[in-house]
């Protein structure tokens, strides 16, 4: 089976859909001739033609509005927002339009769009190339929000997103594009080579939205994570000495609540790990759900390990970034507490 990094896997997903479905087209800033600033669309314009993969003006609101219009006509556009940090000018289009079009039109119109955006930190990108805005989208009913953590899932989830009849925000952890990252910046950068999840089938397959993956089975605590933090969690669990179960949520809307409940019911402890800042972050929702559904199984308070409640700080990237040491401390804490 071919070995791909996450960029190649995403490129393969787009290539498969462009080949298979003439209604799929791709557009965004620098995605055409240049192939995108992270090279995810490299070669697609050359292979599939100018009209299937093209550049847009610098106008995120315009990109998403246009995608919605195309979707309403009957196409399946895949729009790229160059960095998730830049998606905010399109917020009105996503929230007031894409998320509600089917509902408010009594099912007459809908927008099966996929919005891809590199997101997250760990690359010294500063305040406007590092943020994790997933909670903003999760709060909006009508949008799906998907976050892969490895090449195999990235391809399968992207194809599933494109085939979804609902609008999907597809956040790509840019720190994982070229290799897994365990939150230890002093270690040499790894590539995906040798990682089983980098074995990616050439053709069409899907990873269903709303189905979490149990990455590691354990008995003493449950760690909920997604994106880059899945890899940080592996390292943190190993450091902690706690036999923790690690769940990669894969999509936060729809959320695989059954897998979460089943795990916490078994372990009795829960630590939530995300890169975004804490207050009103998606960890707050996860914490509420676990408390509501697993209260009698819980043996200690749920903990959140997250970025701090500050803007993403350039020089303090590794002070801000919730690394394995902080997760390990939280895991030991939930076990000792109870």
């Amino acid at each position: 089976m071919p070995v791909m990094n996450m960029i190649q896997a995403l490129n393969s997903a787009l290539d498969v859909k462009l080949s298979q479905d003439p209604d799929v087209l791709i557009f965004g800033e620098d995605v055409g001739y240049f192939g995108g600033v992270f090279r995810v669309t490299e070669g697609l314009q050359k292979k599939h033609g100018l009209k299937r993969c093209f550049d847009t003006p610098i106008s995120e609101g315009g990109i998403i509005a246009t995608a919605i219009g195309m979707g309403a006509y009957g196409l399946r556009p895949v729009a790229e927002i160059q960095f998730a940090d830049y998606i905010l000018p399109a917020f009105d289009q996503l929230i007031s339009e894409a998320a509600r079009l089917r509902y408010r039109s009594g099912g007459e119109f809908w927008a099966p769009i996929t919005v891809r955006a590199p997101y997250g930190g760990g690359i010294f990108g500063g305040q406007t190339h590092s943020q994790s805005p997933e909670a903003l989208f999760a709060h909006v009913t009508g949008l799906k929000t998907v976050i892969p953590s490895n090449p195999h899932d990235a391809k399968g989830l992207l194809i599933a997103s494109i085939e979804s009849d609902d609008p999907v925000i597809f956040l790509e952890p840019k720190r994982l594009y070229n290799g897994p990252f365990h939150g230890r910046p002093d270690e040499a950068a790894k590539t995906w080579a040798g990682d089983p999840s980098a074995e990616v089938p050439e053709g069409h397959y899907t990873v269903p939205l709303g189905k979490a993956a149990v990455v590691r089975e354990g008995t003493e605590a449950t760690v909920l994570a997604y994106g880059t933090m899945v890899h940080v969690a592996k390292a943190g669990i190993a450091d902690s000495g706690v036999d923790a179960e690690l769940i990669d949520l894969r999509s936060i809307v729809p959320l695989d609540i059954d897998t979460i409940v089943e795990s916490v019911a078994k372990t009795g402890r829960c630590v939530i790990l995300h890169e975004a800042s804490r207050y009103a972050g998606f960890g707050g929702e996860l914490s509420a759900l676990v408390q509501e559904r697993c209260f009698w199984a819980l043996r200690s308070p749920i903990r959140r390990v997250t970025g701090w409640d500050t803007p993403y700080p350039h020089a303090f990237e590794w002070d801000y970034f919730p690394g394995p040491a902080r997760l390990a401390e939280a895991l030991r804490g939930v076990v000792e507490e109870n």
């Binding site: 550049d55 003006p57 609101g61 207050y279």
Partner: protein, 408 residues
């Protein structure tokens, strides 16, 4: 009726890698060709200007035509020096990125005349809402180069306290508003700042910048609407450097008109100016400033130039445009053109230029050395407490608790 089949149009540039540089119709005018109306002229009487190109310097370095300003020669020399320092700094810090001393850098190459001329043409209290290619504004106002380099290195003495990406500067005392990585999001701030100045019966004006690619953002149009409606005392600039990363200028322009014409629908006078001509930039900026200070409202200036380097340290321009396009740019190099003008005036010569080149190289070398002595990225950083400062004017319990949590 036989239906005509529709077809989707996608614009493309005239040349890509492997092609000869080909610019198509740049709507150029000769030096001195464009008329210079009185600043009190009604906008409706000036709608030819956005289609012209204000140029002052001819090929021999003479200042010609009605837009030729009268600038003291020491100001011209200061401008020349600022452009040279900017270029030398850019080259040095771009290399520093390749050596792992910083995370990111963006050069102003080819666009140095814009920041330098406008910085010197406007008054100390005026506020510039810049793009990331306006380093020459700071240099022309003698911003300490070592401080700037500390920001690039995110070290302990970083004036922005380690919080911001390199080159996204802020320097209030130098009339340089805080930059952000988002495009166009400060264009409207300039309008609001200018309206506030008018409200206070102040004398200060604002100058705002975006690149041509950013004219596609809603922010651009919203700002122009407000500027026009409230006759805000501001100068609204569009630096058309032909490339928005890999995307050619036609992608934002609809491939038909000049960017200065964007003002017409808003009733804002538009000037289209050779951005590589220090004198033309200075003169047009002064004209717009005169209008603003006389309560005549905003002016839209398109600064027509060419981005001679890549977008940033993150891209290789040879992957999306012809290799020798910068050299083929018909409006030359702003440094060479101002140098030639000073020589033509009898105020400069090759020996003095060579001496200045050495002096500038030494100034940059010494500033970078000073910053390196404090530390480059990762070797030195501000106290970690700075991460939690300034989130709110007064820290709330989250900041206090999280700071303690980090220190544990």
């Amino acid at each position: 009726m036989t239906a005509n089949r529709l077809d989707l149009y996608i614009p493309e540039p005239d040349a890509r890698p492997g092609d000869q540089p080909r610019f198509g119709d740049l709507h150029l005018c000769g030096p001195g060709e464009v008329r210079r109306p009185d600043t009190r002229t009604d906008e409706a009487e000036m709608r030819d200007l956005p289609y012209g190109l204000i140029r002052v310097l001819d090929d021999q370095g003479n200042a010609v035509g009605r837009w030729a300003p009268s600038i003291a020669t020491d100001v011209l020399r200061k401008g020349l020096r600022a452009m040279m320092v900017t270029r030398a700094t850019d080259d040095r810090l771009f290399r520093a990125h390749r050596q792992g001393k910083t995370s990111f850098y963006m050069k102003s190459s080819g666009e140095e005349a814009i920041g330098a001329a406008q910085s010197l043409a406007l008054a100390p209290g005026d506020m510039c809402f810049p793009t990331y290619r306006m380093l020459a504004w700071l240099i022309a106002r003698d911003y300490p180069l070592a401080h700037f380099t500390n920001q690039i290195f995110s070290n302990e003495k970083d004036p922005l306290k380690g919080r911001q990406l390199p080159i996204l500067m802020s320097a209030r005392d130098y009339g340089f508003y805080s930059l952000s990585g988002n495009l166009g999001s400060r264009y409207g701030h300039a309008v609001g700042w200018a309206m506030a100045s008018a409200y206070r019966h102040d004398h200060r004006i604002a100058i705002a910048h975006v690149g041509e690619g950013t004219t596609a953002e809603g922010n651009f149009h919203e700002a122009l609407t407000f500027a026009s409606t409230y006759r805000a005392p501001c100068i609204m600039c569009v630096t058309n450097n032909q490339w928005a990363i890999s995307t050619f200028s036609g992608m934002a322009a609809g491939n038909v008109e000049t960017f200065a014409t964007k003002g017409i629908a808003y009733g804002i006078p538009g000037l289209r100016v050779d951005g590589n001509d220090f004198l033309a930039v200075w003169s047009a900026t002064r004209w717009a400033a005169e209008r603003a200070r006389a309560n005549l409202g905003p002016t839209l200036i398109e600064l027509f130039t060419y981005r001679a380097a890549g977008h940033s340290t993150s891209d290789d321009p040879n992957r999306y445009r012809p290799a020798h396009e910068a050299e083929a740019w018909p409006l030359g190099d702003p440094v060479e053109r101002l140098k030639q003008h000073l020589i033509t005036l009898g105020e400069w010569d090759e020996d003095r230029h060579a001496a200045l080149t050495d002096e500038v190289a030494e100034q940059v070398r010494s500033a970078v050395k000073e910053a390196e002595a404090i530390g480059t990225l990762g070797q030195s950083k501000p106290p970690v407490d700075e991460m939690f400062e300034d989130v709110f004017a007064q820290p709330d319990w989250r900041v206090i608790e999280q700071r303690q949590e980090l220190e544990r």
